[in-house]
Amino acid sequence: MLKINAAKCDLCGICKDVCPFGAIDIKKDKVEIGDGCRLCSACIKKCPKGAIEKAEEEEKEEPRINKDEWEGILVIAECTGGKAHGVTFELLGEARKLSNVTGHNVICAAIGCGILETAEEIAHFGADRVIAIDSPELSKFRADIYTNVLEELIKEIKPSTVLIGATAQGRSLAPNIACRFKTGLTADCTSLEMKENTDLVQIRPAFGGNIMARILTTNTRPQFATVRYKVMDKAKRTDEKSCKVETFSPSKGALHSGIEILSSSFSKEELSISDAEIIVVGGRGVKNAKDYEMIKELATLLGGQYAGTRPMIEAGIVHYKRQIGLSGRTVRPKLIITCGVSGAIQFTAAMNASEYIIAINKDPDAPIMKIANMAVVGDIYEIIPKMIDRIKRGVS
């Protein structure tokens, strides 16, 4: 909680103006901080009188754990249909970078049924230990028993950090397992850093705005984070395996599930803009579904995929599987052309690792223009048809 030092405060109102949550009210003779306060500290930094401070109580908080008892980074490999999900290799690459700071192990756990071969393959990606948890009950993802077996594994190996891909499955599993250890979980991280004391700095766009937050789990272990697909660099495959595959047998009780799988099938129409090399994306500047056709046409001409921003999905113009953004997919194509997209952080965080970004927007000050390699100031309704025409005629 924040405290206002009434003796220093002159009711200037700057804190109220800078509060991103509208939580501060200036009363006649005092400043009131309401329930909306998220302790972001914006007001503390901007107060010209230094009159706002964080209450003492959290300063004196003692660590609840001995950090030395927890060591290493555990990566959970998502194994579907006989192979590890692509995010697994990115997590392994990232885990190695993080572990270079502490010198601790990178351990990868593969959960499923008949996954020994998958685990052998994972062992080519530089982990210090690869552990397979292989059981018929685990053949299909069920959050409750996946949580149970992971709990047993984590209690045995005591990793300091656990990284899980922010896939649909990972985002169902991670909260369950983090909650079981009554510890912190940061969703959908876009960047990670490791401190020497094994505290993991988890960075993600926050509060639905154009801001990033650095989040720490300082007093509990393990620290859980889910990590966006297509954000981190993949580990390199080596011909030699970096370790032998071990197996881990969970207890019988751990495999008792309250979820009965009636059927399971690979989703039809596996459209994946995540894997596209060229993407053309329409944003709010595209007024309706009919106008969106030119986005599709341009994408098709370039041999790429078309996509949309959140407002386009909410307006029903673009299918949700084609949404780029934190609530949609992350993409990392060789080329992305954004058309009438302003560039809110939820969008840019999910595409700014693209190799070449061309942004077309009327507003030269739109955030997207700052991250674009080529920022084109102009009207998409004029420029795109002319581009289509030139490409069709084969002229530049």
Partner: protein
């Protein structure tokens, strides 16, 4: 049959602008609304109520937040929800996912427990999609995230279709259990003016820390939250870039030239 829907009040606009010179955050307005994904959760509960019959099923909405969050419960009443609770206490403020879901679970226990818990897939302000699954863990019940359709529901359990990106699962869980619903599982009904009038006097019950089965303050809000925000900042831009201005012929030419040069065409 007792169904609980968890809802949240979120800022009406999630636009935050930053003053380039000072780096100060500016939030456009402080208006709020119901988290749009929660409308699908409420609609799912109401459809189930229609299926079970209104005398056999009660739908309760629960939210946590400041007193003004009562308005989302009122909105739920206008859609057809039977009763509503607001969990509100200064001690709950500053909660992360673990503390939020714990507070909700304590509230649910106080209210008496439910057969089925329904949450929206995520909120538009936090965007974590984690509170639902963590709530199920606190309640020690199974959950299914990303539910795309309700295939069957009887007195003992529910059958749903779950979308896990590459895999689609049809599963069955017995009560009590928790689901989080995908957008578009059903078309949410609009709040009705008739129900607004009819529910004007209906009480939104408020539960505070002292009402909770566990009223140790340290388990709630900021102090019950293992994650701490160390710092908030605006991202830097460090890419080299070219700016193309001028008429549309020139712009279209420059873009296509770049596409050829980089062998995209």
């Amino acid at each position: 049959m007792k169904i609980c829907v968890c809802i949240k009040q979120v800022p009406a606009s999630n636009k935050i602008e930053t003053d380039e010179k000072t780096g100060v955050l500016k939030r456009a307005g402080t208006e709020s609304k119901m988290n749009p994904y929660d409308l699908f959760a409420i609609e799912t509960a109401l459809r189930l109520k229609e299926k079970f019959g209104k005398d056999n099923c009660k739908v309760t909405a629960v939210t946590m937040g400041p007193m003004q969050a009562k308005s989302v419960i009122r909105e739920a009443f206008m859609m057809g929800v039977d009763e509503g609770y607001l969990l509100s206490d200064r001690a709950f403020a500053g909660a992360d996912v673990l503390a939020t879901s714990y507070t909700l679970s304590q509230g649910m226990k106080k209210i008496g427990g439910f057969d089925l818990y329904i949450c929206g897939k995520q909120t538009t302000d936090g965007d974590t999609a984690q509170v639902g699954p963590e709530l199920s863990e606190h309640l020690n019940i199974p959950h299914a995230s990303w539910v795309r359709s309700i295939d069957n529901a009887d007195e003992r359990g529910i059958e749903v279709t779950v979308e896990l990106a590459e895999v689609t699962q049809k599963i069955r869980m017995n009560y009590p259990c928790l689901i989080t619903t995908e957008k578009d599982i059903f078309q949410p009904r609009l709040p009705s003016y008739r129900r607004k009038l009819a529910t004007e006097d209906r009480e939104v019950r408020v539960l505070t820390l002292s009402d909770m089965p566990d009223n140790n303050e340290d388990h709630y809000g900021m102090s019950g939250s293992p994650t701490k925000v160390e710092k908030i900042y605006t991202p830097k831009d460090d890419k080299s870039r070219v700016v193309i201005e001028g008429d549309s012929d020139h712009a279209a030419g420059e873009i296509t030239k770049a596409l050829y040069a980089r062998k995209f065409i």
